[in-house]
């Protein structure tokens, strides 16, 4: 594996990325770090979306549902039962994987447009249920606040979120390079063909769903214990879904690196626009840029950069 020069080039890239993340706080203010923390979380969620929807082609509009299960499970355990975090976070992740199985059931029968709709319905259902069912436990519309945080301060949180993001990204990247990853992306092209070549697509899909739910669970629990509060409108929301979806699609779906690029690009775009356009107009510009890029190049920034790089290399040779 290491003898392959292409592989070595990629590993050098990963190492450089890791070192850059490690050294970044030397040059950044704590305000910038907070932006980075947010970008890291969006990157984690976008990767979770990508391993399911980008790879297998089962478009999920309900990822906030998975993230919300993780966040709410851990939040309610720590808030009501004073469960320690090292216990509530794994439980949150397990709950998300159970939720992921629930998510998986419709995928056995329906695909495409209809699958996306069911996932959207799951998200809206949770939004309404958290407000109505037992508001004494879920905190109702206002949610829960004053939750224990894992770490305090920008720097420790930056290191934690970066480390988690980096490890997840690297593992997923390794995963999609295996034969399993190839089989998953084959599902998005022609599920019946994969089935007729003797692979069990149900197991493959279940695997992708579980990995996606696991990543969403880790991200969701850490996110809620970074913020220290949770509310239905902040999680089960189309705008939250929109942020995740845009990060993954703008960066380039099905590439793992793309969603990270998308998450960072968008977070910094928003922050860069802040001095010039302080109000909500930023979201208008942000969405418009995302829409234009998506319509012009559905494969995303990753693809555009790759093409530019390819053109540059050819230019050098000539």
């Amino acid at each position: 594996m290491l003898s392959d020069p292409g592989m070595r080039k990629y590993l050098v890239g990963w190492a450089l990325f890791g070192v850059a993340l490690l050294l970044f706080p030397q040059v950044a203010t704590s305000g910038t770090l907070r932006i980075f923390i947010f970008a890291n979380f969006i990157a984690i969620f976008a990767m979770s979306w990508d391993i399911l929807s980008g790879r297998t082609g089962y478009i999920s509009f309900g990822h906030p549902f998975l993230i919300g299960i993780a966040a709410y499970t851990s939040a309610m355990l720590t808030y009501h039962l004073q469960t320690p975090l090292y216990f509530s976070i794994p439980l949150g992740v397990i709950a998300t994987m159970v939720g992921g199985t629930l998510f998986f059931l419709p995928a056995l029968r329906i695909r495409g447009t209809y699958f996306a709709l069911v996932t959207l319905a799951f998200m809206e259902l949770m939004y309404q249920l958290t407000q109505v069912m037992r508001p004494d436990i879920t905190g109702g519309t206002r949610g829960l606040s004053g939750l224990p945080t894992l770490l305090t301060g920008a720097l420790p949180n930056y290191y934690l979120s970066s480390a988690v993001m980096f490890v997840i990204a690297f593992c997923l990247w390794l995963l999609i390079r295996t034969r399993l990853g190839t089989a998953l992306s084959a599902i998005s092209m022609d599920e019946d063909a994969v089935k007729s070549s003797g692979l069990d697509t149900t197991k493959l899909k279940l695997f992708a769903f579980m990995v996606s739910a696991f990543v969403a669970g880790v991200g969701g629990t850490l996110y809620v214990h970074y913020l220290g509060s949770i509310a239905p409108r902040a999680i089960f929301d189309i705008n939250f879904l929109f942020t995740i979806l845009i990060a993954a699609l703008l960066g380039g779906a099905s590439t793992i690196i793309g969603p990270i690029m998308g998450a960072f690009f968008l977070t910094f775009l928003l922050e860069y626009l802040r001095p010039y356009i302080p109000g909500t107009e930023r979201y208008f510009i942000y969405g418009s840029i995302a829409l234009i890029v998506y319509v012009l190049e559905p494969k995303g920034l990753h693809h555009i950069i790759q093409r530019l790089y390819g053109a540059l290399m050819r230019g050098k040779q000539a």
Partner: protein, 283 residues
């Protein structure tokens, strides 16, 4: 009991109007236009701007709202959907992004707070001890007239039949000399206009709010999903199913649970019979 029947009928009429424009696009183009809620929102806000800010006559506000809905729908089709037509998932994603962008635009212009719309007609009508505002009554009766007109249009006019033909068999329609792109464009225009009308009624029934596009969109999705790729009649039946279900939940259980059953119904129907209750086509 009378109260449930009356409220249910009124609400269902409005829901049928909301859903029908969405259904039309789905049956002709096989794409889900998640920006449909925007036409509803746009209709409401344009009417508000004309009537309550510029103090123009209500009729002018209505016409402006419909014009805006039609123009925006045509723009959506020409600039966005036509480029992605062979990829329904890309259409869904891009129209969802468009809807969020439009929501941001509305927040930019009108702020995030909700606005109250004056009723189209003032006054209350009492029957059997049930108070019915003239406003919702007018909205429902207008919905029925519009839906009736639409049925007549689709079944009796040449253009309407061409729309039907494209929705049944695109290739077959092409063979008989119909240009499906032109038909799609016309359908989108009609859908935008219907959405805007529904938006004016819906906004007077509830209120104006930058996220008001989500609720009606979900109702429209539910009607399409539960009804399957159906006719206008199919949409009517399901709109009444949902309208009555919500009214019964509101008056017998709790108002907050209203949406929960609609969501559950969507999930169950999609899992059990993906083609919907009245569906006639493959996915």
């Amino acid at each position: 009991m009378t109260h449930i029947i009356i409220q249910g009928l009124l609400l269902s009429g409005l829901y049928a109007l909301i859903a029908v424009g969405f259904t039309m696009i789905f049956s002709v183009g096989r794409v889900l236009n998640l920006a449909y809620g925007v036409y509803i929102m746009l209709g409401g806000y344009i009417y508000f701007q004309c009537v309550q800010v510029w103090h123009l006559p209500k009729a002018v506000g209505f016409v402006m709202a419909v014009a805006a809905g039609v123009a925006f729908a045509v723009a959506t089709y020409q600039l966005l959907v036509r480029r992605l037509e062979n990829n329904p998932v890309a259409v869904e994603i891009s129209t969802l992004i468009l809807a969020v962008v439009m929501q941001a635009l509305i927040v930019m212009i009108y702020g995030a707070a909700s606005r109250t719309m004056w009723p189209l007609v003032n006054g209350v009508w009492r029957i059997e001890g049930v108070a019915v505002t003239y406003n919702i009554l007018i909205a429902t009766v207008a919905s029925w007239f519009i839906l009736g007109g639409l049925m007549w249009f689709v079944h009796k006019t040449h253009l309407g039949r061409a729309i039907m033909a494209v929705s049944m068999d695109r290739k077959g329609a092409m063979v008989s000399g119909i240009d499906p792109r032109r038909i799609s464009l016309i359908t989108w225009a009609i859908s935008g206009g219907l959405g805007a009308i529904a938006g004016v009624f819906f906004a007077t029934y509830t209120q104006l709010d930058p996220s008001m596009w989500v609720g009606p969109l979900i109702i429209a999705v539910a009607v399409v999903v539960i009804g399957g790729i159906g006719s206008i009649v199919g949409s009517l039946i399901v709109a009444h199913l949902i309208g009555f279900m919500e009214t019964i939940t509101t008056s017998l259980l709790a108002a907050e649970l209203r949406g929960v059953f609609t969501m559950l119904l969507i999930i169950i129907v999609l899992i059990v019979t993906p083609k919907g209750l009245f569906g006639r086509e493959e996915l």
